[in-house]
Structures are given as structure tokens and as C-alpha cells.
Amino acid sequence: MPTFFILLCCIFSAATVQAAQTCKTDSIPASTPNSQLVDNGDGTVTDSKTGLMWKQCLEGISGTLCENNTLKKFTWEEALQRSGIANADNGFAGYTDWRLPNIRELRSLVEEQCSNPAINLDRFPNTPSLDSWSGSLFAHPSYPDSAWIVNFSKGNSSIKGRETTFVVRLVRSDQ
């Protein structure tokens, strides 16, 4: 995996899509190694640790390296509605139960040995170091306009206003 990451970093920096990812492959155990994330070959990735199936590309982009079309950003309401769009017309990859991940599911995607972005770029190529929406609300009554996000630059979780626009990656429970 280290070689692959280096290769990917080269490709992406050449394409000026994003700054280079850095990974501490020798001093931090991988939390989402390729052996755990199964590439299903149909634009989906199955996490054998959690039992979740993820769309390989963020909403808006497509292709085997998620290199086609344009990345989209959504308000929290639009992010919620996005799953309905993905599930229409026979859905995606034959599944019609895609949904916005909850905060714990979204955090489970974070690769702890990498940053900028903190994700396995082999399985989730062309992922930018951006905030990504979850479908989880923030519980404290002083923040009735907030919901949870994961910042994939570092991998931390936080809350943001629902009118802010962020990227979206859809998930489904693989029963």
C-alpha cells in the first residue's frame, strides 16, 4: 500500500487535483487497509470490518479513478435528498437503499495513518481534503442549526451549520 499511495500522490499532484497525501506507514497501523476494503469493481467498496458498502466516488464525480464530471457540494437538506436521487431508476450498482452515512459510519472511513486526505486513496481515489456531511444532528440545544461532519483533511469530526455546502459520500448497509 505505501508504494501505491506514493504513486497516487504523484498522479494527483501532476494533475494538480490536490496536494500530496502524507502517510506514516511505518509508525501508525493502517485502520482501513486494502485487505479490509474490498473493491467490488462496480463503483462500490465494501468494508469487511464494519459491514458497510460505500460508493467509491463522492457525489457528482464518477469513473474508475473518480476522474470524470464535477464534484458537487450540498447543503445538509440537499445531502439528505441526494440518496433519493441515487436510488431512483434502479439505483446505483443495482442497489436502491443508498443513504447519507451517520457520523460514526463516516468516521469509520478515516485512515488513521494518513492525512491530507485522511482516507485510503487506493479505494476512494480523487477524494479531496474537504468536509463531508453526515446525516446526524448535533444534540446540544444551543446549536439547533448544526449537524455533524468529518473533515477528511485530518479526519476529525466536528459540527457545521446546515446551510453550509459540503461534499457527500453515500453508504448502504450490506446485509
Binding site: E77, I103, S136, H140, A147
Partner: protein, 289 residues
């Protein structure tokens, strides 16, 4: 070796049963995947489990756009909101923990309390088993002893395979049980994460001596996102430290910078990184045998 064997089994089950892979893999894991955890092992070494079912979040209500939360699971595009799926919706039984959480109280020997409905004040328990993730957690005490809730530690790990290229901070905190800074021979008493883990394993706790620092994702599995101040199931994890600013260390170092590591702020459920010099509390973990 056991891990490789298991991976082979997983792949085999994938090939054989196709879409039924997870149920099969889960059975295999129950049967074969009980990873041995070595006593005295340094934090974060190769004992991280391969199968970690996620807890649900604890969020049982919906919200509106652009603002407003409801008391029940209603709101904008409600089918796509958190409250509509997961254990909070399918296994919402408060008798074993709020909403979809399922915990078992364990006594000082590690055995389940015969009466799970007791309060901590009447019958204090020593550990809690999470029945969803399979993790067993240290419960803090309020007795001024080794496990006291108010003790804090700096982050320290001398294992180069797991420390993110920096050992962290060995001896800058003084706020823990038994601390002795008088001679160089007392480093075992220091208030850092590694020394504390070793002390607990030397003494034993809940019948076990294979306690370790949790990874950040394991630690986050305790977050109850449906609550704040504190964001944890306090009916099972009593003795919150300081509900306004309660940070708990994980054993996971930060990939982005050296001498920093991940913690969970159990005041509100945030996870982030901070300098190893910071003082924070600890919930040690082990995997159910």
C-alpha cells in the same frame, strides 16, 4: 498467523457465498477470530481486532432545515436522517442501555452482575461490556485509587511501530495515583498513558491483565451522539470527570504532526488531536474473550 488464517477464511467465504459474505464472515469470526492479547503489550500493537461492528449513534430524533430539532423521528427528508436507520430504530431497548446501545455491567472479577438493574451507588461495577462491539471497558472509580476518575495523564508510547514517530511526553503530569518523581527508578509511577496501562495490567482489573489503550475509533464507539455534557451512556459509565471539558486519550497518534495524538471530548462527542503534553483521562479497553 491467526490473522492470516482468518483473512483466508474471509476471502473464501466471499468467493463461496457471494452476497451472503457478511453473515458467514461474522460466524467465522465468532468461531475463530478471538485474537490473543498479550499482557504487558505496548499500546496499539497488533491486537486491534479485525471485526468491529459499529454502534449506532443514539440519535433518535429528526431535524428541520435550516434549523430546529424535533422530539421524535420527524423532519426534512426524514427517511435519510440518522434516526430512521440502525439499531436506534431496530433495537431501541433502554433496558440494556439507551436507544440502540447494549451494555452489560461486570463485577471486579469480570463476571456480569446478576442484577443488571442496580445503580452504581448501591452496587458499583468495575467494567462494562459493549455487546455490540465486543469491547470491554474500564469504568472509573471515585475512590482516590488507581482507577480514579480525576487522574490525568500525558500521552506516551515508546513502541516505534505504533507511536507515529514520536514517544510523546513521559513525565510532565503529576495528577495520578501513586505518582513518585523522587528517583529515576520510579518511571513506572509516572502519569502517562503507557505507564498507567502497565500499572493496571500489573495489578489486574476485572479478572484480566491484557488492558490496552483503545484506538480512536474504538474510543469513539463509546460516544452517545444523542447526548451532550456528557456524550456517553452515563447510566453505565458513571463518574464523569468534568462534563464541560472532559477529554479522554486514545492510543492513536496523529498522522499529520508529531507528538500529537487523538482524543475524544466526551463533553460533546468531538474527536480531534492534541499535543502529547496535554493532560487527559483514560478508559482502558480489552476485547471480550
Amino acid at each position: 498467523m491467526k490473522k492470516k488464517c482468518f483473512t483466508a477464511l474471509t476471502l473464501a467465504s466471499l468467493l463461496v457465498v457471494g452476497s451472503g459474505f457478511f453473515r458467514s464472515a461474522y460466524s467465522y469470526k465468532l468461531l475463530f477470530m478471538m485474537p490473543p492479547i498479550l499482557a504487558g503489550e505496548q499500546q496499539g500493537t497488533g491486537n486491534v481486532i479485525d471485526w468491529l461492528p459499529l454502534n449506532d449513534t443514539g440519535i433518535t430524533w429528526g431535524g428541520e432545515y435550516p434549523t430546529g430539532n424535533n422530539s421524535g423521528c420527524t423532519g426534512v427528508a426524514i427517511d435519510a436522517q440518522d434516526c430512521s436507520s440502525g439499531r436506534d430504530a431496530t433495537h431501541n431497548n433502554d433496558s440494556d442501555g439507551d436507544a440502540g446501545f447494549s451494555y452489560t455491567k461486570l463485577d471486579s472479577k469480570g463476571d456480569p452482575l446478576s442484577d443488571q438493574s442496580v445503580t452504581y451507588a448501591s452496587t458499583p461495577w468495575a467494567c462494562v461490556q459493549d455487546n455490540v462491539t465486543g469491547l470491554i471497558w474500564e469504568v472509573k472509580t471515585d475512590d482516590g485509587g488507581l482507577h480514579d476518575k480525576d487522574d490525568t495523564f500525558t500521552w506516551y508510547n515508546t513502541n516505534p511501530a505504533t507511536n507515529g514517530d514520536a514517544n510523546g511526553t513521559e513525565n510532565e503530569g503529576t495528577n495520578c495515583f501513586g505518582y513518585d518523581n523522587n528517583t529515576a527508578a520510579t518511571s513506572a509511577t509516572y502519569c502517562n498513558t503507557q505507564a498507567y496501562m502497565n500499572r493496571v495490567n500489573k495489578a489486574g482489573w476485572c479478572g484480566a491483565s491484557d488492558w490496552r489503550m483503545p484506538t480512536i475509533k474504538e474510543l469513539e464507539s463509546l460516544v452517545h451522539y444523542g447526548r451532550t455534557f456528557p456524550a456517553i451512556e452515563s447510566n453505565y459509565f458513571p463518574n464523569p470527570v468534568n462534563t464541560v471539558n472532559w477529554s479522554v486519550w486514545s492510543g492513536s497518534p496523529s498522522a499529520g504532526s508529531e507528538s500529537t495524538a487523538w482524543y475524544v471530548l466526551f463533553s460533546n462527542g468531538f474527536s480531534d488531536t492534541q499535543s502529547s503534553t496535554e493532560n487527559a483521562t483514560i478508559h482502558l479497553v480489552r476485547y471480550r474473550q
